[in-house]
């Protein structure tokens, strides 16, 4: 038995005992069940499995520390009202905000961060990492790291554009339907039903096969596919606001529809809409990533995470994880947005599970 294994179990058991002593039941249960699971893991996988668990725990601890520090930082720099809200954010939400912040920096300052251009061929195909290239070269000899940084700008930017368009279409239709009612309401409701009854990826493939894989086609098609979700939510939320007395009063004052929407209804339905924006972004982002993975999204040589996975997939059969990094980047951003949305939904709905 190596020193590592002895140290590993000693640390786990000591930590369990400390948790038990301080009567922290949950931490104790977690640590002690981890100890028990480690027995099985150690027998099946040997020392490497235990080392894997240690590395994983280390990464988790690092992420938790970073999130904690980032939350403190946000609390310090923001105004008192916002700071008070931020104090209630769980660590997962803080982690999400940190990741989103990092991606935003990478996307905005991509040309300054990336050492090479996104379509600049600087080495031979699939060259392994060296001092110049952090992650090696891709299938055409372009710097992988630079392309991932540029991908933050291209992939996320495109998804953001499509989400905003989907939101404008869906929210406007929802608000007008709620205010006007009647045949307009019925018609847009039925159109939304039809769009939602076709699986989104299939719908997107059909439209792209007809109009070709141009950027504007992708943005418009994806926006149309996901606008019914926004429409339904807006329609439901605004439907509850429209029957309020103050909206009735505004109507009697003779205000126009646009005024009703902008001044009376919208300010009272923002909270669920903001959370929906985050969720919607995740769906759009995953759909566009799937399309580019199939070779039908952003076209080369523009760097894009989905197509990078596909182009470099051959490396995986040699046990190289580089092609998974762009895929992991997609997953990480989606998880981060979901964490933040979870917190927002919890806060805005006051949903306290028993």
């Amino acid at each position: 038995m190596s020193m590592f294994v002895i140290g590993y179990y000693a640390a786990l058991i000591a930590a369990s005992c400390i948790a038990a002593y301080f009567q922290n039941r949950q931490a104790f249960m977690l640590l002690f069940s981890l100890t028990l699971v480690s027995f099985v893991l150690g027998i099946v996988g040997g020392v490497p499995a235990l080392q894997g668990v240690t590395i994983f725990a280390g990464i988790l601890a690092l992420a938790a520390g970073t999130s904690y520090a980032f939350r403190e930082f946000l609390i310090q720099v923001s105004r008192p009202a916002i700071a008070k809200e931020l104090r209630t954010a769980p660590l997962t939400a803080a982690f999400g905000m940190f990741v989103i912040f990092t991606y935003a920096i990478a996307g905005i300052f991509a040309p300054w961060i990336a050492p090479f251009g996104q379509s600049e061929v600087i080495a031979s195909a699939f060259e392994p990492p060296n001092e110049d290239m952090l992650l090696g070269a891709d299938q055409l000899g372009r710097d992988m790291f630079s392309r991932i940084v540029y991908g933050a700008r291209n992939s996320v930017g495109l998804a953001l554009l499509a989400t905003i368009l989907a939101f404008v279409i869906g929210a406007l239709a929802g608000l007008y339907s709620a205010v006007k009612g009647g045949w307009l309401d019925q018609l847009s409701g039925r159109v939304a039903d039809v769009i939602m009854s076709v699986p989104s990826l299939i719908f997107a493939l059909l439209m792209l096969s007809i109009f070709g894989t141009y950027l504007w086609v992708i943005v418009v098609v994806v926006a149309i596919i996901y606008s019914p979700r926004v429409f339904r939510l807006t329609r439901a939320v605004a439907g509850n606001v429209v029957v309020m007395d103050y909206v009735e009063a505004a109507k009697l004052r003779g205000e126009g529809d646009w005024h009703l929407i902008r001044k009376e209804i919208l300010p009272n339905s923002t909270a669920p809409l903001i959370a929906e924006f985050g969720l919607e972004f995740c769906f759009v982002f995953l759909l566009i990533a799937g399309l580019s993975f199939l070779g039908l999204g952003i076209q080369p040589p523009t760097a894009d995470w989905g197509s990078m996975v596909r182009e470099n997939a051959t490396l995986i059969s040699f046990g190289d994880i580089t092609p998974l990094i762009p895929a992991a980047a997609i997953a990480l951003l989606t998880v981060a947005v979901n964490f933040v949305v979870d917190w927002m939904l919890f806060r805005s709905s006051g949903l306290k599970e028993q």
Binding site: V194, S197, L201, I210, L296, I316, G319, A327, V335
Partner: protein, 318 residues
């Protein structure tokens, strides 16, 4: 009882109408092509003569509405026309692949459904404990990952590093069931991971929702143990939402299968669709889209009908 039958019939009728509208959408979307199909297939350089010949062949001279009803009548009887690229009948290309895709989806569903519901109930029982939070983070991560990410991770570890399963799901007709199951294990596992996470979260939410109702409070106050509260009192009323969850996720499987088939080079209908989109082979695209959409609509329909049938209030009217 008549109430239920009426509701079910109404829902079925609505599903049929939806399917019809979607078929109109799929057919007439192609009519939106700038120029027409012949132009799109042959490109800008085609001479008037060849264009005219192809138009003649495709019957483009007739009005679109007539061609739509021809196409629909063909589709209902299993005839989707011929491929634009090689002139073979579309139905022959689709049939085998559709069976393969259904096999993969069913394989994934058989593993995922019992697994996810059991886990969902356990997590609902342990709600707000540290296990619940860990499960929350893990399922959220799994949902947020693109299918190809999960697929490649499984290939990297289970196929390349530990060589337990084949990375490429190549199947042929002469294989035994056991061989088939082994060859398609990784794609099925990828689908299981995605769908289980969804189903588990939705089952948990459905049960926790119910736990807030007064009759559960009553059961608790009379001293029933927690597991009994869930299994005896909550579960019978939770079946409707759970059936809904299962059907919705099976519908989700239908689309998830496209990406997974491409990752594992599995000869299913999703792969065919993606190839056809790249080659702009419209009859195949239309046929595949119609099949996917029909499956999706049918499963959603099944969810609604299942929810109606298991609703105790509807089954035992006062």
């Amino acid at each position: 009882m008549r109430d239920i039958l009426g509701l079910v019939a109404k829902r079925l009728g609505l599903g049929l109408v939806t399917l019809l509208v979607v078929s109109v959408l799929i057919f007439f979307a192609v009519e939106l092509l700038p120029g027409d199909i012949a132009q799109a297939v042959l490109g800008q350089m085609a001479t008037e003569e060849t264009l005219a010949r192809l138009r003649e062949e495709l019957g483009l001279g007739r009005p679109a509405i007539v061609r739509y009803f021809d196409w629909l009548a063909g589709a209902v009887t299993g005839d989707f026309g011929t491929s634009l690229i090689d002139g073979e009948p579309v139905t022959a290309k689709i049939t085998d692949r559709f069976v393969s895709t259904l096999f993969l989806a069913a394989y994934a569903a058989v593993i995922a459904v019992p697994f996810a519901i059991t886990l969902g109930i356990i997590v609902a029982l342990l709600r707000n404990s540290i296990f619940d939070r860990v499960a929350n983070v893990v399922t959220l991560t799994s949902i947020s990952s693109p299918e190809f990410f999960l697929g490649y991770i499984l290939i990297l570890y289970l196929a390349v590093k530990w060589s337990m399963f084949p990375a490429i799901a190549s199947i042929s007709s002469g294989m035994t069931l056991l061989e088939l199951l082994e060859r398609t294990f990784l794609p099925a596992l990828t689908l299981v991971l995605v769908v289980t996470a969804h189903m588990m979260r939705m089952t948990r939410a459905a049960i926790i929702n119910l736990l807030a109702s007064p009759y559960i409070e009553m059961a608790r106050l009379k001293g029933a143990p927690p597991w009994k509260v869930i299994v005896k009192h909550a579960l019978p009323n939770a079946w409707a939402p759970i059936i809904n969850v299962v059907a919705l996720n099976l519908a989700y499987l239908v689309t998830g299968v496209v990406l997974v088939e491409v990752v594992f080079v599995y000869p299913g209908i999703g792969q065919l669709l993606v190839d056809a989109v790249a080659k702009r082979d419209f009859p195949i695209v239309q046929a595949c889209c119609l099949i996917f959409a029909a499956t999706f609509i049918l499963l959603n329909l099944a969810a609604d009908v299942g929810a109606i049938l298991t609703n105790p209030r509807l089954r035992h009217p006062k």
